[in-house]
């Protein structure tokens, strides 16, 4: 079950179980979110405005479910592919073993594709690496902007590529060292920046 659908079913469940004397927290107002997202993605503003009109027309209860489902995918009118499609595209470099999008603050995986590695553990490890470097940079006094970290091991190459828009989220690529080109994998990771929408 995808994260979004779990969130939605969680929302519905909490709505059913809510106590009568408590204020209703179960239907948060997502309209502010949509506005913020619009500001973030100026290119898709016009398209987003159309979508906002569509959601406004729908009945409120349905609208909540729709927005919850739509929010992680930014704006539905956007022609950028879904996270799974981006991950599949990322996995297309030669020698690719595993790719993932990871939240470095928790070490949790937002989406992954491929096999051959314990991706949960590897992602947690990569998060620690990124956080360690950023924390030390803070000690230096200035904010450090990390574009990417390329790690060559004996049998693997790994790429940690924080998203420019949200540096705490990073794309994580693991490839077979004998089969993959580090430069090509790095290029793929940078290319995916424009496609990933969270």
């Amino acid at each position: 079950m995808s994260l979004e659908s779990r969130l939605v079913s969680g929302l519905r469940r909490s709505k059913k179980e809510k106590e009568p004397d408590r204020p209703d927290y179960s239907e948060p107002d997502f309209s502010g979110w949509a506005q913020k997202l619009d500001n973030f993605i100026p290119a898709s503003k016009a398209a987003a405005a159309n979508a906002a009109e569509e959601t406004a027309d729908a009945a409120p209860a349905v609208a909540v479910a729709e927005v919850v489902e739509a929010a992680p995918v930014a704006k539905p009118a956007d022609d950028r592919p879904s996270l799974d499609a981006v991950l599949a595209k990322l996995l297309s470099f030669d020698g690719a073993m595993c790719v993932a999008v990871v939240d470095s603050e928790t070490g949790m995986i937002l989406g992954n594709a491929g096999s051959g590695v314990d991706i949960d553990l590897a992602a947690a490890g990569a998060s620690v690496i990124l956080r360690a470097r950023l924390a030390s940079a803070k000690a230096l006094g200035g904010e450090e902007h990390i574009e990417d970290v390329l790690i060559s091991l004996t049998s693997q190459v790994q790429i940690i590529h924080p998203l420019p828009k949200n540096p705490s989220i990073f794309t994580y690529l693991i490839g077979d060292k004998a089969k993959s080109s580090l430069a090509m994998a790095r290029f793929k990771a940078a290319e995916a920046d424009l496609l990933i929408q969270l």
């Binding site: 553990l121 490890g125 690496i129 470097r133 574009e147 091991l153």
Partner: protein, 119 residues
């Protein structure tokens, strides 16, 4: 074969090189350095954390891989970290200017320096 100070000086001859150092990741201390970087101590400590985190991650994964090198791209600088094959707790560190250097060449030079290094 060359000694540490000489090797580091050679690394600095690379175009765009800012500073080079040999760092002990078990303590974070700089064993030897060349070039002028006011923040060398702190960047060495930062990279120590990175190497330690990676070693720990490899340990948790039960992998018997070793780290060949770690390249960190910053806004205007590349950091190249390369643990010594003979002693993985000690690493070579080279900072190069992103606009004036060639990452592939810098990486090759560091690998070469690591092979020749005699502690």
């Amino acid at each position: 074969m060359s000694n540490v100070a000489e090797s580091l000086k050679q690394l600095l001859e690379l175009s765009g090189a800012r500073s080079a150092a040999l760092v002990d990741s078990s303590s974070g201390m700089v064993l030897s350095h060349a070039g002028s970087d006011a923040h060398l101590e702190i960047t060495a400590a930062a990279n120590t954390e990175v190497v330690r985190a990676q070693l720990k991650s490899l340990g948790t994964l039960g992998s018997d891989d070793a780290i060949d090198d770690i390249l960190i791209t910053l806004s205007n600088q590349y950091d190249i970290v390369r643990p010594l094959a003979a002693n993985p707790s000690i690493f070579l560190y080279l900072a190069v200017d992103k606009n004036k250097s060639n990452l592939a060449m810098a990486r090759y030079k560091v690998a070469e320096c690591e092979r020749q290094l005699e502690l």
